[in-house]
Symmetry: C2
Subunit: 168 residues, 2 copies
């Protein structure tokens, strides 16, 4: 059990995880086209190599401050499986989860959490209140940060660059 993020490059991954990352990045780009912060989450079964949920941010579109990609993906997978615990499943998300999402991932008992870009300002796994390092936290997934980090960061940067451009 660790919440220390490990560094991996895409070359370390197998084809399946590469596909998961590509799916998440495609979904995050879709969010950007809807003027949402481009973050997406995918929940998948490492055993069957099947994706069971894909979601991207919908906070603006849905007028819902809780509609982060991770929350939507957990809700979608739980509804599909009709169970609150996703013990046999992993999540890949393009950005380090915030404290809300990190806690939801713990409640959902997801086996592993892979994330892309680190979030110094808003993250809750390796930054901020570091949810999983707290004594009262009941369950910690295995955490692997910095997965396809550059591609995830570039997408976020291009979104915020466009935002700043529009502000002028």
């Amino acid at each position: 059990m660790t919440s220390r993020a490990k560094k991996y490059t895409l070359d370390d991954m197998d084809t399946f995880l590469k596909n998961v990352i590509d799916t998440a990045l495609k979904s995050a780009k879709n969010a950007m086209e809807r003027n949402e912060i481009p973050v997406a989450a995918v929940i998948f079964s490492p055993e069957s190599e099947k994706i069971i949920a894909i979601a991207s941010n919908r906070t603006e579109q849905d007028h819902d401050p809780t509609a982060h990609a991770e929350i939507l993906a957990v809700r979608s997978a739980s509804a599909l499986l009709r169970q609150t615990r996703l013990t046999d499943y992993d999540m890949y998300v393009t950005l380090e989860p915030c404290p809300m999402c990190a806690t939801a991932i713990s409640f959902a008992r997801l086996r592993r959490l892979y994330f892309g870009a680190y979030d110094v300002k808003g993250g809750g796994v390796d930054h901020g209140c570091r949810v999983y390092r707290n004594q009262t936290n009941l369950y910690t997934p295995e955490v692997y940060g910095g997965i396809a980090q550059t591609r995830c960061e570039e997408l976020l940067s291009s979104f915020f660059k466009t935002l700043r451009g529009n502000d002028r």
Copy 2:
């Protein structure tokens, strides 16, 4: 701006807040009848003295680990108002919010958070990772803990007593 919970008794409150608390406790009892942990949240306007959202736990019923009362109340109020920020509204919840819900309340920019029972094991406001005390936390509501504490605690105790009874 403070996250230090202040102690209030029901006698300090005006009739409106008493009604809000009664509404929340009634909703929490309803959750208990559905075999959910009896926690409920109410979002109200201190200006118009109107309740705009009432929700209680639905994690088991909805197979949704994120379906805590506070999350459901925020989603309901935001959808109603078609806005992600609930700046002019307050929340009353019968139990100290967990880190997931405390963060959601911050995202929703709720003006005040009143809560009933303290949650030493699962709370994220005055216990655990104390979301609002973290440097990276962007917005902190005014927090008042221990409001109608005894009634909220008694409801929770009776639920867990029944659970233990059923386990025998």
